[in-house]
Each structure stands twice: as structure tokens, then as C-alpha cells.
């Protein structure tokens, strides 16, 4: 009896997770907040109907990222469309977000969209090793950083020295 209840609660939270996970980043619409690693947890005290409070926890990519307010609204809208009207979105800073949490599928989508995905892992020690950034247009590794600060906090602006096209690079962070 007890174990059955536990199974049903877990399933419901997974359902809620999947609804919240459909929300896309407003600045990079091919990526969901799950792909990005922004969606941290979904909890509910509701084990049957849709009456309980749903608590969704997200973490910002950068402290000042203006997309967070839009994401918060979109989560509430997505859950409301499925009948969950009592939704609270918590923004937490710890543990700090890292591009290491970006899913492999997310990186593929990013590259297809024309943004070079982060290369390698965030530095664990004192020395960070810069890896070559691959041009998302022609796949050349002969690319150069134009500026570390691009169209949004999370991106740098690069240029390909073979196909000559500029492109955004999602920084390792």
C-alpha cells in the first residue's frame, strides 16, 4: 500500500517535469530549459488530482540573465494549460549553473541552429585549457574569437577564417 503510493507520487512528478521541460529558452528557442540544465527540480505535494502546489526550481545561467523572468512565466503558463494552477517557481543560485549540465542532445540542436556549443568541460582546477571552437557552418577548426562578450551573456562572438562567416559560441562556463 505504502509502496504503491510512493510510485504514484514519483510518476506524477515525472509528468510535471516533462511539462515544465517543454519550455524553451526565449533567446535560444531550439533549446528547452531541460537541455540547458536550467530546470533543476519539480516537486508537488499532490498525489492524485490537480489541486496541490507545484514547486518548480530553476537556476539562472548568468546572474543577470533577463530570460529568467520570461522562463518563469512560460513555466506557469505551460503547467496551467495542463490544469495545474497553483505553481510556484523558485530561482536558486546554488549549485551554480555550468555548461557541463547541458545535454548532449542540446549541444547537437545548438550546432544545427548555427551556434557553436561549448567545447570541453568547465575548468575543475586552476588552469583552463582553451580548445578549438568548430565553425557551425563549415566545421572548420580555424576560427578566432572576435569578442568574449556576444549577443547575450552566455555567448561569445567568433569568426571562421575559412568560410569567413561570423558565428556565436556558447561559452564554457
Amino acid at each position: 500500500m505504502v509502496s504503491t503510493q510512493c510510485v504514484s507520487i514519483r510518476t506524477r512528478e515525472e509528468t510535471l517535469w516533462d511539462i515544465a521541460a517543454t519550455v524553451a529558452d526565449p533567446e535560444i528557442p531550439v533549446l528547452t530549459i531541460e537541455d540547458l540544465g536550467v530546470l533543476r527540480s519539480v516537486k508537488t505535494d499532490d498525489d492524485g488530482g490537480n489541486g496541490g502546489v507545484v514547486v518548480v526550481t530553476i537556476t539562472p545561467t548568468y546572474s543577470g540573465c533577463p530570460a529568467m523572468d520570461a522562463i518563469r512565466d512560460d513555466i506557469i503558463t505551460a503547467l496551467a494549460a495542463n490544469g495545474y494552477t497553483d505553481v510556484r517557481v523558485n530561482l536558486v543560485l546554488s549549485p551554480a549553473w555550468t555548461t557541463d549540465w547541458m545535454s548532449a542532445a542540446g549541444k547537437v540542436k545548438l550546432e544545427e541552429y548555427g551556434i557553436a556549443p561549448p567545447t570541453g568541460k568547465a575548468a575543475a582546477g586552476k588552469v583552463s585549457v582553451g580548445l578549438s571552437v568548430k565553425c557551425p557552418q563549415c566545421s572548420s577548426l580555424n576560427t578566432r574569437e572576435l569578442t568574449r562578450f556576444g549577443s547575450t551573456s552566455c555567448k561569445a562572438l567568433y569568426v571562421c577564417q575559412d568560410c569567413r562567416e561570423p558565428f556565436d559560441y556558447f561559452k564554457v562556463h
Binding site: 540544465g37 526550481t57 543577470g64 540573465c65 536558486v92 549549485p95 572576435l146
Partner: protein
Amino acid sequence: MSESNASATRITPGNALRPEDIAAADLKPGEAVGEYALRLGDDALILAQRLGWWISRAPELEEDVALGNIALDQMGHARSFLTYAGRAWDKTEDDLAYFRGEDEFRSCHLVEQPDGDFARTIARQLVVSHYQFELYSRLMDSADPTLAAIAAKAVKEVDYHRDHAGQWVLRLALGTDESRRRMIAGLTLTWPYVGELFEDDALVANLDGVAVRPSALRASFDAQVEAIFAEAELEAPEVPAAVGGGRFGRHSEHLGYLLAEMQVLAREHPGATW
């Protein structure tokens, strides 16, 4: 869902604080911690306001974007610190940013200094970013989990700011005679305000383990900045220290004008939203 394709977002790395811990925590800080958070938040807020001025005025388009992004990061840090500080007095981040007078701000004098030319702004950035990097690196170990969490987030961003400032110092100092002259002039105007950043006082002394003692940051700050100076063939200017007092609400003549511009809309139309 198998282990191999499980979402990385559900993994908590190492022994880091879990978001659930913060969500469940009673976040109301004591007044002393609130005061300390106010200092950190005010530094970031005033710097963000200063840097925002450069948008559309920087020497090249990429620099508009860079300084705009750095301002945005600082604004993010300010929002976190001020939101937390405000809970000590049941005030919001907006109450603290827009409805405090000059003598209620706890920012240091350095961040309120005028932008000057680009080199002077870069000199200020060099100092602020290295100071904040040293500060946040240590604040990550604070006994206060919220301060530690904000610092752990901020330190990654300030690391870029430090790199950005350092690269510009090299470019300006080793560029033309004119760029070198301006870099030296910018550093000379900035240096009187460095000392205030590293002054201890009773508030931080009473927050042992929670706050970081400013004086403890000086040695590593000097080592980092001196390494850049050595590469850029510069020397730390020998100039007398300016009178400080920002942490106690005593400010230079510049802050009032800055606040007037920053606060006018919120005070003219209280509660207005976009």
C-alpha cells in the same frame, strides 16, 4: 530512464549545496548580515549604473556589448545581494535601489567615480574586477549559505571581467603614446580609491566566518595586479589615498548625481512597471 541518458540536470555535483536546501531555508538574515549584503549589493549596483553609460559610446561596437554585458552581470549580482539584504528589514530590492537617500548607500567611493575616458573606466574595471574576484572566491566558503551561493555564481562571471580589463590594460599601455598616456592618467585618477576597498571595520569583524575581512584580500590583489603591470610596463601610481567612508554612508559629490538619474523614474512614478 537508464543511468547513461539520465538528464544531467538532476545530478548535483560533488557535495555542493542542493537547491532544495536553499528553497527550504529560512532566508531572513540578521541585521548585521543584511548590512554586509547591502555593501556588496550597492557596489555592484552603482558600478552597473556607471558602466551602462558606455552602451553606444564605447570605442567600438564589440565594446558596447562587452561593457553592457559586464553591467548586466553586476546588476544580477546586485539584485541577488539586495534581495537578500532587504529581507532583514522586509524591503524589496526596488525599495533599496530606488528609495534610499545618498547617505543610506554603503558602496565604496571607487564605483561612483566618473567614467572619464575609456582608459579611466578600464583602470576602474581592473581594480574592481580583481577585488571582486578575490572577495567572491573567499565568500564562497561563507558560513551563510545564501551569501556563499551568490558568490559562487558571481565569481565565474567576474573572472571574465578581470580578463577583459587586463587585456585592455595591456593593449592601451603598450599601444600608442597617446593610449599609454591615457592609461597611466586613468590609473592615477583611480588609485586614491583603492585603499578603501581593503579597510576592515567593526561590522566585518563581528561577522567572523560569514563576511570576508577586506584586509585579507590585499596581498593576492596586489600580486595579480602587479603581474599585469609588469607585462604592461606600468607601475602602481604613488598617490595619496582619498578620504573614504562609503561603507558608513559618507560619499563623494558624484553619488548624488548618479542616484538622481538612476532613481528619478521610480520616484516620479512609484510602482510603475514596463
